[in-house]
């Protein structure tokens, strides 16, 4: 489809934008509107979870109890984890998927638009449910986001509310994932073969599969918590023949694929952005697809690396250690291919590219610490220490969250029709990239020196690095205000119009339609012409 035709469609459908708040947002069926709502929700949750993190870092600024009571501290770490994972990272990626997948595969919308609305609107209610527990007798859940029994079964009234909130999030994720799979498999424009799809679409296809496979398992695990607590079952009670480790097994069968749910779409974003700014096609397209698929497969057989210190049989520990090591092979393929894509490219470093490069470097650091944790004897030392905290924040903050920011800067001009402020984007980037390291790198040292995670007070020996880490935390938190400011500026105040092909080197269907992308994009399947796609030639 050429640009004129797209503009023409824009005119034809202009009056289709529903009038009024209720009709446009509450009754929404448009993938762009729903994508926007997901992204806004994620941003709000990012700040709610972020505020909790600021209190945590303030309490840990120096040894001794300053600001909060230990129990409240535990509530904060627990809710911070749940909110960031289920409220910020996951919805943000679903928002990106909603906006981009139909544009990238040439579909008119998501395959099941009304279900799409339901998937979104369940979420605000779920978070209402979970946040309300802060004010309940006995307080919110405080046993960590993993909710291990028996500790979690001692929660006050809020346990049932939290579990039902998790059920709601699960329902939402499953429906969202079904929608994404149906869109990708069924709504591609003619000529958009599976192996010509953009990598972002590929990674989401595989992520959606993971989601449908694991969210029900989490639902099962928390349902067993619920019945153990309220209906007298003995799933997790050894005296009744049950086992607390049963919970850990089921939870981590969900949990490890879940971390890939949070990182694979980021891989997808990075695989779009690096070729654009290196002005070269991605190096090894098919290996990227296969690597993603093998990571997804392997992610189902490594879960017990979270349980090395629980007394598993040695044979099991060895199996899970080797399987964990194996994941670094496809992960290495990905990192290698990103670097090879940049090799001898004519690169420029606009904000999305800066975030993408930082992603590659910092995610790799997180991968390496993961590798260290995956070694059984080493993990005996590191487990439950700040080293683990450092590891997963490298992969989740400078990994997943940076991936989201990359995507937002990359596509925001397409969504809003305006350029963001490059200058403030760069300031946001440099402040974030530096402070995130100040924040999390010292936590490696703290962990190796023996500081346990999830404690409000600590030995004075850990004082210095904690203070450094907290300072990094405050700077990182404050820098994110620039991000919001830049987004608000772009959407409401920016003057300069973004062209259809926002980035010189960008290829793919989304760059063939005007910016902002019209409310209804491809009412009829677009004709894909040679050279439009980033991967694979079109022969009609």
């Amino acid at each position: 489809m050429n640009t004129d035709a797209a503009i023409h469609h824009d005119d034809a459908h202009h009056d289709d934008v529903p009038k009024g708040f209720v009709h446009r947002w509450l009754f929404a069926t448009n993938h762009k509107d729903i994508g926007t709502m997901y992204l806004v929700l994620a941003l709000v949750m990012f700040f709610i979870g972020g505020a909790m993190a600021m209190v945590i870092r303030a309490e840990l600024f120096k040894p001794g109890l300053q600001l909060v009571q230990p129990y409240f501290f535990n509530e904060l770490t627990t809710l911070h984890g749940l909110i960031m994972i289920f409220g910020a990272i996951m919805p943000a990626f679903v928002g990106l998927a909603n906006w981009q997948i139909p544009l990238m595969v040439g579909a008119p919308d998501m395959a099941l638009p009304r279900m799409n609305n339901l998937s979104f609107w369940i979420l605000p209610f779920a978070f209402l449910l979970i946040l309300s527990t802060l004010f309940m007798p006995g307080g919110a859940v405080a046993g960590g986001w993993v909710m291990y029994p028996p500790l979690i079964l001692q929660t006050g009234e809020s346990l049932a509310f939290t579990i039902f909130a998790i059920h709601l999030m699960g329902i939402s994720s499953i429906m969202g994932a079904i929608n994404i799979i149906a869109t990708i498999l069924n709504l591609r424009a003619p000529g958009m073969d599976l192996l010509k799809m953009p990598l972002f679409v590929w990674t989401w296809l595989i992520t959606a599969f993971l989601l449908i496979a694991i969210m029900p398992v989490l639902a099962g695990a928390v349902t067993m918590l619920l019945t153990d607590r309220y209906f007298g079952t003995n799933f997790f009670n050894a005296a009744g023949g049950g086992d607390v480790l049963l919970y850990e097994h089921i939870f981590w069968f969900f949990g490890h694929p879940e971390v890939y749910v949070m990182i694979l779409p980021a891989f997808g974003v990075i695989s779009e952005v690096i070729p654009t700014f290196a002005r070269k096609p991605i190096f090894g397209y098919k290996p990227m697809v296969y690597a993603t698929a093998s990571i997804a497969f392997l992610s189902f057989i490594v879960w017990a690396h979270h349980m090395f210190t629980t007394g598993l049989p040695v044979g099991a520990q060895l199996f899970f250690m080797y399987a964990t090591m194996l994941i670094s092979v496809p992960t290495g393929v990905k990192v290698f291919n990103w670097v090879a894509t940049m090799w001898k490219g004519s690169m420029t470093f606009e904000t999305p590219m800066l975030f993408a490069v930082a992603f590659v470097i910092l995610f790799t650091i997180g991968g390496f610490s993961g590798l260290m944790l995956g070694l059984v004897p080493a993990d005996y030392q590191y487990h439950n220490s700040y080293f683990v905290v450092a590891h997963f924040h490298y992969v989740l903050v400078s990994g997943a969250a940076f991936g989201i920011m990359t995507g937002v800067y990359y596509w925001l001009p397409k969504w809003s029709g305006h350029m963001y402020s490059e200058r403030w984007g760069k300031i946001h980037f440099w402040l974030s990239a530096i402070s995130v390291n100040v924040l999390f790198f010292p936590q490696h040292f703290l962990g190796l020196a023996g500081m346990p995670r999830r404690i409000p007070d600590y030995n004075v020996a850990f004082a210095d690095w904690n203070m450094v880490s907290s300072i990094g935390g405050f700077v990182f938190g404050a820098s994110q205000l620039i991000f919001v400011g830049n987004i608000i500026y772009t959407v409401y105040f920016a003057r300069d119009k973004a062209p259809a092909r926002v980035w010189e080197g960008a290829r793919g269907l989304e760059w063939e339609v005007p910016s902002p992308a019209p409310h209804h994009t491809f009412s009829t399947p677009p004709t894909i012409l040679p050279g439009m796609l980033a991967h694979g030639d079109i022969t009609h």
Binding site: L118, W121, I178, G220
Partner: protein
């Protein structure tokens, strides 16, 4: 909306999803209150939520049915619906997988370890000396007291036959629908929810028996937990499936389905086969072995 011929059907904005979200929220909110013993708010909220959900189902499905009869859906939309249903069933498989996993783990690993096998020797020696494991078990403390299990070759066997034949009847009904034999279709379709209801009747009877005569309860250690959660969730699915069958029976009788266009019929049939297959797993692993 203005659609070119052959284009994909994109529905207008709809109020049903947000009603569904509110209904679900109130339902869950009420359930949590009720569990925490906050009454009467709990039950009131729960049933209000349930009423909203039922109202929403009628409204939402009604709208889709009207659109479908207006011919708004082309073959591509049909494929989307089919994919939606298939992946939904896959998610259900994984949900049951969690409970089957719990059963295999506790029976195959946990209970033997508690009884001193393998690396569980010291646990057994210091904490649970004298516990010899085996299956069924209510654990070292025999929580819930001694109990007997439901014999596989009584009602469970009967229920297996009922569900298997219901899978046959719905398949015959489906073929009859495709061949245009209305009478045969109605008869066999009507037989299916009847078989489902009979299944539920016998299962209810089995539960009552378990509680009153066998002393097998939710509280009966790990055996009671896995037994009741597995069969209970399955029973819940049979209940939902039976309701779905009644709905498509009504719609068939009304003449909603044509030889070519009967996605709802097929979706329910798939669901029913899925419920059947889960039962076979239950019969084998929960009752026989």
């Amino acid at each position: 909306m203005s659609q070119q011929a052959g284009a994909y059907y994109i529905p207008h904005g709809s109020r049903w999803p947000i009603i569904a979200a509110v209904g679900l929220f109130i339902f869950m909110w009420g359930a949590a209150h009720w569990l925490d013993g906050i009454e009467p708010e709990g039950p009131i909220l729960l049933f209000t939520g349930l009423a909203i959900i039922i109202f929403m189902k009628f409204g939402w499905f009604g709208e889709v049915i009207r659109e479908s009869q207006r011919g708004a859906f082309n073959a591509q939309v049909d494929v989307s619906f089919r994919m939606g249903m298939m992946w939904f069933i896959f998610s259900e498989v994984m949900f049951f997988g969690a409970f089957f996993g719990a059963l295999f783990y506790s029976r195959g690993l946990q209970v033997p370890w508690l009884s001193g096998e393998g690396h569980g020797a010291l646990t057994n020696y210091y904490l649970f000396r004298g516990y010899t494991g085996g299956w069924p078990t209510a654990g070292p403390d025999a929580i819930g007291g001694a109990f007997k299990t439901v014999p596989a070759w009584g009602e469970p066997l009967l229920n297996t036959l009922l569900l298997l034949s219901s899978s046959v009847t719905i398949t015959i009904a489906h073929h009859a629908l495709r061949d245009g034999h209305r009478r045969r279709m109605l008869v066999f379709l009507a037989a299916t929810p009847i078989l489902g209801a009979l299944f539920l009747w016998f299962q209810a009877h089995e539960y009552i028996d378990a509680y009153t005569h066998l002393n097998l309860t939710l509280h009966s250690g790990i055996y009671g937990a896995t037994f009741f959660l597995l069969t209970g969730f399955h029973g819940l699915h049979v209940t939902l499936g039976t309701i779905m069958l009644l709905v498509i029976l009504y719609r068939t009788w009304r003449g909603d389905f044509s030889k070519e266009h009967h996605f709802a019929f097929e979706a329910v049939a798939w669901y029913w086969h899925f419920v059947d297959i889960v039962w076979l797993g239950l019969f084998l692993f929960v009752y026989i072995l």
